[in-house]
């Protein structure tokens, strides 16, 4: 059996609307992943440090407030600084169409808008998360 995929779910920025973050955290856990939910109002520094400490394969950011173009580049830069190039970064929330290509360009691989089925996110992570040492 392959080791479980480790996912840090984080809610950056000032927003407290955590329904999406909690529901997806639970769905990933029910799908057999190891899920660490950071809680609210995490800075990019705290999120990347959590990913490092938890040896995360995936970081899932939930952002509904419109601050994604500030938060995502910062997270990507900090990951690069830490040498965590193979951590898969996905974002869920309200992301205007015009920002989607910009986020992809900086390395956000999955962008999930309102109405995305949980299963689609589970499948995406299974397919794109880095292969762990010892995995088949």
């Amino acid at each position: 059996m392959s080791p479980r995929i480790r996912v840090v779910i984080a809610k950056p920025g000032l927003d407290g609307h955590d329904r999406g973050a909690r529901v997806i955290a639970r769905a990933l856990r029910d799908a057999g992943m190891e899920v660490i939910y950071t809680g609210l109002r995490q800075t990019p520094e705290q999120i990347v440090s959590a990913a490092l400490q938890e040896d995360a394969d995936v970081i899932g950011l939930s952002i509904l407030s419109g601050a994604h173009m500030h938060i995502c580049p910062r997270v990507m830069a900090l990951l690069a600084e830490q040498g965590l190039h193979d951590v898969l970064v996905v974002v869920g929330g309200i992301i205007p169409d015009v920002d989607i290509p910009k986020l992809r360009e900086i390395g956000v691989r999955g962008i999930f808008l309102p109405g995305t089925p949980m299963q689609e996110i589970v499948d995406f992570i299974r397919e794109h998360a880095r292969t762990r040492v010892g995995a088949a």
């Binding site: 779910i9 920025g13 000032l14 927003d15 407290g16 609307h17 955590d18 329904r19 909690r22 529901v23 955290a25 639970r26 769905a27 856990r29 899920v35 939910y37 950071t38 809680g39 609210l40 109002r41 800075t43 407030s65 419109g66 601050a67 173009m69 500030h70 938060i71 309200i94 205007p96 169409d97 015009v98 808008l113 309102p114 109405g115 089925p117 949980m118 299963q119």
Partner: protein, 542 residues
């Protein structure tokens, strides 16, 4: 012309789907007199305008006065939002409703590190009295009623509003409006809290007593189920937790030495208007009945105004879909009909583009037009509580009431809502319901048109409001200007007095008014109290 899908769900599917409300409540295919034998007209319903007000607060319903069409709005700078307010008022809106941005809601100035990228994004940024003056420039605060969605920094923002009103020459004694000021639902659902629960409750009772004396017509709190529902609660949970929050505020007011009939008449409520039509109607009717009985029997209130639950409703933001956004116009119209049929005092209808962005002016106008069509074209306002006596509606009303009362027992046994929140009880109940609903959507037991059924690849793109970074820059400059021009010593001394008052037992409102007049900022005032009370940290659970 586009061909639309004409596949009808199979009988088997229809059967699987038809049996529960959106909250998962089992529904029978037929209701008969046998379902309402336990209901007594005089005791449980009574005519509109009489206790327990199940059928409404006014004997003539909307014949005397329609509901207030109050559209929640705010974005960018105070000047931009001021222009939107003037447009809404000229389009026939009858009240203002201020949406603040996240820095303001969290008591942070635009120059705080956590405000980066958030200024003016989800609402208007207000950092000092100067911003509040710009927000209401050219709007007569003596003539319009304003609702302000602000919770943890409610006393600071309210103090700013009062000072602006004073400058407009308006009399505080006749000033009309509402501050949301409901911290319990922040801990439960929306999570925009600053201080721990107990000092937060003290700020609220300070407002109760200040307003009873100085701003008697102001609605001191809008006890909100809206956010509880948006976070995933069922209709019964929304009803139960909201009313139990209301009970908690009344108890804290009494414990602070206030007479129940002096402050309870200024407590108002705010409910969601979700998609399950009859369940929503029953929810509002049950809410009025429960509140009337609790106030009379549990708290011994004697003033009928203390028994009367007045409520605002807003259609369900969470039901809006990014896919096929025009469907949202229809959803919103149907949702809005339920609180109107149940005698709401005011209503906000969401705009079709709100799953994508803050609404454009056109979308916000269409949402207002939706209310006007209901009010003036459908005829539903002509007769009071038109669904009373329906076996189905009366039975649902009773069932929701019973479920809410059972939750009251559980929470009372925990010692009250503050204690229940500290144990994470309502938070866990809601998270459970949210997950269960999502699973039922995935299994297509609950249909969302355009999302899990009848999804097309032909979404018509709509123009949305894009808020760029200029608001942040403008607000940073405005903040720097204020800080350079004010009397710094006066600011410091007002903040020191605020701290001393908060550490002791003084009412914080007069101290905040002094700080506001000195142009202390929202961030500075909130920080002063952070120094005294600390900040609340939620333990994250999934």
């Amino acid at each position: 012309m586009e061909r639309v899908a004409t596949t009808v769900p199979t009988d088997q599917r229809a059967d699987r789907r038809a049996k529960t409300t959106i909250s998962g409540r089992p529904i029978a295919a037929l209701y008969t007199p046998a379902d309402v034998t336990a209901i007594d007209y005089q005791r449980d319903l009574a005519d509109p305008g009489t206790f327990p007000y199940t059928r409404g607060l006014h004997p003539t319903g909307y014949a005397g006065k329609l509901w207030t069409m109050r559209q929640f709005a705010g974005f960018g700078t105070p000047a931009e939002t001021n222009a939107r307010y003037k447009q809404l008022l000229s389009a026939g809106g009858t009240g203002l409703s201020v949406a603040f941005d996240l820095p303001t809601l969290m008591g942070r100035d635009p120059d705080h590190e956590l405000s980066l990228g958030e200024v003016g994004k989800c609402g208007v940024n207000v950092a000092s009295l100067a911003d509040m003056e710009a927000l209401f420039e050219g709007i007569d605060l003596g003539a319009v009623s304003s609702s302000m969605t602000i919770n943890s920094p409610a006393p600071m923002i309210f103090a700013m509003y009062l000072v602006v009103a004073e400058k407009h020459g308006a009399d505080w004694r006749t000033l009309a409006g509402t501050i949301q000021n409901d911290i319990l639902k922040e801990f439960i659902a929306q999570k925009e809290y600053i201080y721990p629960p107990r000092p937060s409750m003290r700020l609220i009772t300070d407002i109760f007593s200040f307003c009873a004396e100085s701003v008697p017509k102001w609605n001191t709190i809008s006890v909100s189920g809206y956010h509880i529902r948006e976070a995933g609660a069922t209709a019964a949970q929304e009803l139960a937790f909201t009313l139990r929050d209301g009970i908690e505020y009344v108890q804290y007011g009494i414990d602070a030495g206030l007479d129940v009939d002096t402050f309870v008449p200024r407590i108002s409520f705010f409910f969601n208007a979700h998609s399950d039509f009859f369940e929503e109607i029953a929810k509002y009717r049950a809410a009025r009945r429960i509140w009337a009985r609790v106030m009379r029997d549990r708290f011994k209130a004697r003033n009928p105004r203390s028994w009367q639950l007045r409520f605002h409703a807003q259609t369900a933001g969470v039901s809006l879909t990014a896919q096929q956004p025009y469907n949202n116009v229809v959803r919103t119209a149907l949702q809005a009909l339920a609180p109107v049929l149940a005698g709401a005092q005011s209503l906000h209808t969401n705009s079709l583009d709100e799953a994508l962005a803050l609404p454009t002016a056109e979308a916000a106008t269409l949402a207002l037009r939706t209310q006007q069509i209901i009010a003036f074209e459908t005829g539903v306002t002509e007769s009071v509580d038109p669904l009373a006596g329906s076996y189905f509606v009366e039975r649902l009303t009773k069932d929701l009431e019973d479920e809410a009362l059972a939750y009251f027992d559980t929470i009372d046994r925990m010692g009250g809502m503050v204690e229940a929140i500290e144990r994470g009880y309502p938070q866990k109940e809601i998270a459970e319901s949210a997950y269960r609903f999502q699973q039922s959507v995935e299994r297509k037991e609950k249909v969302i048109v355009g999302v899990n059924e009848y999804a097309g690849n032909h979404d018509t793109p709509i123009g949305t409001l894009y808020i760029d970074e200029t608001a942040g820059d403008v607000q940073l400059e405005a903040l720097a200007r204020i800080k350079a021009s004010r009397d710094e010593a006066r600011v410091r001394s007002s903040l020191d007095q605020l701290k001393a008052g908060a550490a002791g037992r003084a009412n914080t409102m007069p101290l905040l008014l002094d700080a506001v007049r000195a142009y202390a900022t929202v961030g500075e005032m909130c920080d002063a109290l952070r120094d005294v009370w600390g900040e609340y940290q939620e333990i994250p659970v999934i």
